[in-house]
């Protein structure tokens, strides 16, 4: 083989590999995979808004002035080096919506750590675990009383002392936990990729009952009027008796349920990635209405002024009502929406996939303000 031939062949192979690498969106100095960005929702306390940005920062905003309450708090994780890549840091993706008490803001990160930050100053109070990290945390924290609860991709649910971050107990499921726990009274409800919904005693993490579906459970459960409602990847929405986990009814949609449902006035509204909001009677599961939004729904809806506000992934926001039955288009943000919606005083807060925070009037659909969270 001539030298020219070798070079040509090597060039051809190089081009082939370049095409392969670019086709796979192969980032440098990392293993080839997509980069997690996060989809934190907003927590509202009075006029203060707290959320995790896609730059891995906890952001606190005064809703009335849109000014920062304190400088953004960055969360970073070490990025492994090797193969000619220097060791560095990388922003932590934040998927869970922060939980807020009167004193602290709780946050979970995809780096497998939970944080508590002083609500007044933004100063870090504690981090769990102090050394190392858990597997990625996708669900958000739930706070009740003096405890904070969250699940990890290592399959465990953790209960920590809210003031100190000390672990009180843990419960191990059979697979990843990506959902946010729901706590009602003395019981905590959490779904797992092992297809089960668990009801645990908040006191010690002991199992009260469990219910097995045929698909993974990511959606956060809703406790309403003596029943637990949650969707599964087996395309069913389930209603279980809160006391013993027995099945009340189940309802089949056309695709997964990813988001938490919402209940109002005896009707449960569950958005599915099949693009529809299924409105069912809470008692029987009987269909009241099906609203077709023609785009997957993964953001949990909210209730504002008696209407259900729901966002499709495409950025179209709707207001749904049963009496009269109508689907009203509020606004098209033209920006993808995955984060759970939040509301306060007739304003809907939406964190878009482009890392923009929108404040939308729940009645008129007018965009009151929008704020790009990306640092300048």
């Amino acid at each position: 083989m001539s030298k020219k031939g070798v070079i040509s062949k090597a060039l051809l192979l190089a081009v082939l590999l370049l095409v392969l690498a670019s086709g796979l969106a192969f980032p440098s100095c990392q293993t080839a995979r997509s980069v997690p960005r996060g989809w934190s929702g907003v927590s509202v306390i009075d006029e203060a808004l707290f959320l995790g940005s896609m730059e891995g920062k906890l952001v606190a905003i005064d809703g009335s002035t849109q000014q920062r309450l304190w400088p953004d708090v960055p969360f970073e994780q070490k990025q492994s080096g090797g193969f000619g890549c220097a060791q560095g840091t990388q922003a932590v993706a934040i998927y869970g919506t922060p939980a807020v008490t009167f004193e602290l803001v709780y946050l979970t990160g995809y780096n497998g750590k939970a944080y508590a930050v002083n609500m007044e100053t933004g100063a870090l109070r504690w981090v769990y675990p102090r050394e190392d990290e858990l597997d990625p945390i996708v669900g958000g924290p739930a706070v009740l009383g003096d405890r904070v609860y969250f699940g990890s991709s290592n399959g465990k649910l953790y209960a920590l002392d809210a003031a100190t971050g000390d672990k009180l107990w843990e419960f191990e499921s059979g697979d990843k936990i990506w959902g946010t726990p729901a706590v009602n009274g003395q019981t905590l409800y959490i779904g797992s990729f092992d297809k089960k919904l668990y009801a645990l005693n908040v006191a010690d993490g002991s199992l009260k009952w469990q219910f097995e579906t045929e698909g993974a459970i990511v959606a956060t459960p809703l406790v309403y009027d003596g029943a637990v409602y949650f969707g599964s990847f087996d395309r069913h929405l389930y209603a279980l008796n809160e006391a013993d986990g027995s099945l009340r009814w189940k309802y089949q949609a056309d695709n997964w349920f990813w988001s938490r449902p919402l209940a109002n006035d005896g009707i449960i509204y569950a958005g599915s990635v099949d693009g529809k909001v299924h409105a069912l009677k809470t008692e029987s599961g009987e269909v009241v209405a099906v609203f077709d939004l023609e785009s997957p729904i993964s953001a949990s809806p909210v209730l504002a002024g008696g209407d259900v506000i729901v966002a499709a992934e495409t950025g179209q926001v709707y207001s749904l009502s049963i009496n009269p039955r109508q689907k009203k288009s509020l606004v098209n943000l033209e920006d993808e929406i995955y984060a759970p919606l939040a509301t306060s005083d007739g304003v809907i807060y939406i964190h878009s996939a482009d890392d923009v925070l929108y404040a939308v009037d729940a009645r008129s659909g007018a965009t009151l303000w929008s704020l790009e969270l990306e640092s300048e």
Binding site: L12, L24, T31
Partner: protein, 316 residues
């Protein structure tokens, strides 16, 4: 638009097939990838066979190359033409060796995209998986995310024990070694050795970067290639010293004819003019042949076509 076509034709079918096969094979995604490899290699078997025949023919031509290199090494232009002609006569398309790899490139990309979706590596990718699932196949909804454990591997991430890069590189080296013809030319031999190492090392490096599931595909695919090469080309090829020293029957005949032709002073100028049209008709092939490192070759076909011409005295 292109993205939609890609999803419809390649990605969605692959995702659903991988999920269903995994469900049928004890929820074992590793076995599912192996089955996918078998399917892809099965579908592309005509291309593979063509490639193998080309490889074998190239190996068999190697002694002729050496002979002609010695004889016509100085006239490069003529060398290229004769080389191309020889390839055509032998039914070899040197570019054919790359075709099975080119065909598999979209499969690699789709497999990578499938892996990061079905194994729930990153939430955004996993959520997008819902849009790929076939509503007419109800079981696919419940089966995901798939189990990423296979043997010692987590199929979603590179192998932390570095065994897989060694397997990928080693199997690729073995496969290439079988197809690398041995030559008597030390310079050529050195270049062949370099090529023998570049690809395996490059893929071993890629294995360190990509999810193990993709590397598993590469290993199984390489093993299939080695098996096919062994059975179709009838042995270990370039792995054994025999291939270099003992020309095949066809080669021996050819060399004998060549020697006879040399003795009788073949009129190459005449034969070249005779096939000039053929040369011009396939510039691309000639180019490839040149890139492949063509050596001067007398025209076997021309000799067959004009046996009498070869007996005429040389005009030059």
């Amino acid at each position: 638009m292109i993205g939609e076509i890609w999803d419809l034709i390649i990605l969605s079918p692959m995702i659903n097939i991988l999920i269903v096969v995994s469900g049928a094979l004890f929820n074992n995604f590793g076995l599912s990838i192996i089955v996918l490899t078998l399917i892809v290699r099965g579908v592309t078997i005509p291309l593979t066979l063509k490639q193998l025949r080309s490889t074998k023919a190239l190996q068999e031509l190697q002694p002729k190359m050496s002979e002609l290199q010695k004889k016509y090494g100085k006239d490069k232009q003529k060398l290229a033409q004769e080389q191309m002609r020889l390839y055509k006569e032998s039914g070899i398309n040197p570019a054919g060796c790359l075709l099975p790899m080119l065909v598999q490139l979209p499969i690699w990309i789709a497999l990578f995209q499938s892996i990061i979706r079905v194994l729930a590596v990153v939430p955004e990718d996993f959520l997008k998986l819902s849009g790929h699932l076939y509503s007419s196949w109800p079981q696919v909804f419940s089966l995901v995310p798939l189990n990423s454990r296979f043997l010692w591997l987590d199929l979603a991430v590179p192998d932390r024990y570095l065994l897989l890069p060694i397997l990928v590189g080693g199997s690729m080296w073995l496969q290439q070694k079988m197809t690398t013809p041995k030559t008597g030319d030390p310079r050529q031999q050195a270049q062949a050795q370099m090529m023998l190492w570049v690809m395996p090392l490059m893929f071993a490096f890629l294995t360190l970067q990509f999810p193990s599931g993709l590397a598993l595909y590469w290993v199984v695919s390489n093993l299939i290639s080695i098996g096919l090469q062994y059975f179709i080309t009838g042995g270990w090829g370039g792995l054994t010293a025999q291939a270099a020293t003992k020309p095949a029957g066809a080669d021996r005949k050819y060399i004998k004819r060549l020697t006879t032709a040399e003795e009788k002073e073949i009129d190459y100028a005449d034969t070249e003019a005779d096939i000039g049209a053929d040369v011009g008709a396939d510039i691309a092939s000639a180019d490839v042949a040149t890139k492949e490192g063509a050596r001067y070759q007398p025209s076997l076909r021309a000799m067959k076509r004009h046996p009498k011409k070869s007996k005429r005295p040389k005009r030059r």
